[in-house]
């Protein structure tokens, strides 16, 4: 049996979360218990924000990097008291001495310059990064890196999905920052899926070695292994996968291994820019295993899913509804 005070706390908590007040007495609103529940409840927004920040470990790696950059800039700054003015002056004097100007510009503007590569809905982009690393960007994805990439650091930030074929470099580790976590790479080929609205990080390692960093948690992965991090429940699972399949990721093939229909539909929304509506919530929990090719038209893939005899898709004006098949 629960004690009276335990029941009271349950009621206080449900007052804040549910607005239920029938079990509370007048004096409950002035107690210490009320204040501490109120305090914890009031920090909701800040605590949620915290989960979106980079792990302190990788933020420190970035900052340490900037500290080195700054030191070099300082030497130039001591030499030229007003670097910005000086840069303009040199430009005026020498006309086309572009090399000098670009060399000085980081001192006059302390901001680090970001390069952003964006892929549209249904689009796939290939980029070669300054260090020779190849990246294939999936649909609706953003990849960012700064102007020191390849020289002072090898940090990229990803929102979405990408496959990396990373050149090896012992001095500069390659770091992929994704929502709530980072992946540290040592010359390797792997696929990452981490859409900001997806609440899930997936990593599949094809070759080499990577380390998945999430807060104080760290796991090493070996080739042929996949890691799945559910950001809602903080549950991280690692398992073996068929490697052949992932090597064809670039051709648009996506391999599902017990993925929920909810997640599959989320991915299709990213690829095709269509909106889906579930007629019943239970349908989201259906799981699928198999291959989907995102370079094929939407109808083709919907057909494949319908063949499982579990669900049907109905196209309406602005959305596609998902209904149960009997």
């Amino acid at each position: 049996m629960k004690s009276k005070s335990e029941n009271k706390l349950d009621d206080l908590v449900s007052f804040f979360h549910e607005g239920e007040r029938e079990d509370l007495q007048e004096e409950d609103y002035y107690g210490k218990e009320f204040k501490s529940v109120e305090k914890i409840y009031s920090l909701r927004e800040k605590v949620t924000l915290l989960a979106k920040l980079k792990p302190a470990e990788s933020a420190w790696a970035e900052t340490e990097d900037r500290m080195i950059e700054k030191k070099q800039n300082l030497i130039v700054q001591k030499f030229l008291r007003f670097p910005y003015v000086a840069a303009l002056f040199i430009l005026a004097l020498l006309g086309g001495a572009l090399g000098v100007v670009t060399y000085l510009s980081p001192t006059s503007d302390e901001q680090v310059l970001l390069t952003e590569i964006v892929s549209g809905t249904g689009e796939m982009k290939q980029v070669e990064l300054p260090d020779g690393t190849n990246a294939w960007l999936g649909s609706n994805s953003i990849l960012k890196y700064n102007n020191k990439f390849g020289e002072r650091n090898r940090f990229v930030k990803l929102d979405g999905e990408a496959m990396f074929d990373v050149t090896s470099n012992d001095k500069l580790p390659f770091l992929v920052n994704i929502q709530k976590a980072s992946i540290k790479v040592h010359g390797t080929k792997f696929v990452v899926t981490s859409y900001a609205q997806g609440n899930k990080n997936d990593v599949v390692l094809l070759e080499g070695k990577v380390e998945y960093l999430r807060q104080e948690h760290s796991s090493f992965m070996i080739p042929g292994e996949s890691l799945s991090d559910n950001l809602l429940t903080d549950k991280i699972t690692q398992k073996k996968v068929e490697l052949d399949s992932y090597n064809q990721w670039k051709e648009g093939k996506v391999f599902l291994d017990n993925n929920s229909l909810g997640y599959l539909v989320f991915l299709m929304e990213q690829w095709y820019g269509e909106k889906f509506v579930f007629n019943s919530k239970n349908l989201k929990e259906l799981t699928f295993t198999g291959v989907i090719n995102k370079n094929k038209p939407l109808d083709y893939n919907l057909n494949i899913i319908e063949l499982t005899n579990k669900v049907k898709f109905e196209k309406n004006e602005n959305e596609i509804s998902i209904i149960e098949q009997n």
Binding site: K2, E6, L9, D10, L12, V13, S14, H17, E18, K32, K35, S36, V37, K39, I40, Y41, L43, R44, K46, V47, T48, L49, L50, A51, K52, L53, K54, A56, E57, A59, W60, E62, T63, E64, R66, M67, K70, L74, E110, V112, K157, Q215, L232, T233, D234, K235, K281
Partner: protein
């Protein structure tokens, strides 16, 4: 001479200081700068600047409160420069009313709270996260996880009780401030 020697931080010590306070500093910046990337970027800038000034700084108060007020000032300067970002005035007024000692309490407590949340038992953590972070109602959680609404209520009570106990020390201090 001797005191100067003593005050000089090594990079390693600074790294420890960074990791301990980075998230708190980001929360302070996020009060004014709504964009997470930009807020983190600015906080890192402040850490770099602070490291450079480590020789000149005469820090009487502790380094942490110096860091947090610097972050705050930078953030305010930045939004004033950047007119495209409008911050509601009421937000700034509230800050003015706060006294210095309690100024960053909420941010510090949030970081402690986030740590404490991680230690909740898995089932309880799951339910709590859905209610607290995702704003699910008890009924929605019950449906989602196939539980009774009453179980959800009980588990929420357990979560709050454990969090309160973990944070007791910090909560008491806060409570005293609020009662003044």
């Amino acid at each position: 001479m001797e005191t100067k020697e003593r005050l000089m931080l090594t990079k390693e010590q600074y790294g420890t200081f960074f990791k301990k306070n980075y998230h708190t500093a980001c929360l302070v910046a996020l009060r004014y700068i709504p964009d997470i990337d930009r807020a983190e970027d600015m906080v890192q800038d402040v850490f770099v600047a602070l490291w450079e000034k480590r020789k000149e700084l005469q820090i009487e108060r502790n380094l942490k409160s110096y860091l947090l007020s610097t972050v705050k000032n930078h953030a305010i300067n930045r939004i004033q420069r950047d007119k495209t970002n409008t911050v509601s005035l009421s937000k700034l007024e509230i800050d003015l009313e706060e006294s210095e000692s309690e100024e960053f309490e909420k941010e510090e407590l949030s970081v402690k709270l986030a740590e404490a949340i991680k230690t909740l038992p898995p089932a309880c953590h799951n339910i709590f996260s859905l209610a607290y972070k995702e704003n699910f109602t008890y009924q929605q959680i019950a449906d989602e996880l196939n539980l009774s609404k009453n179980t959800v209520k009980t588990q929420m009570g357990i979560a709050y009780r454990q969090l309160r106990d973990k944070l007791r020390q910090s909560l008491i201090v806060l409570m005293q401030i609020f009662q003044k």
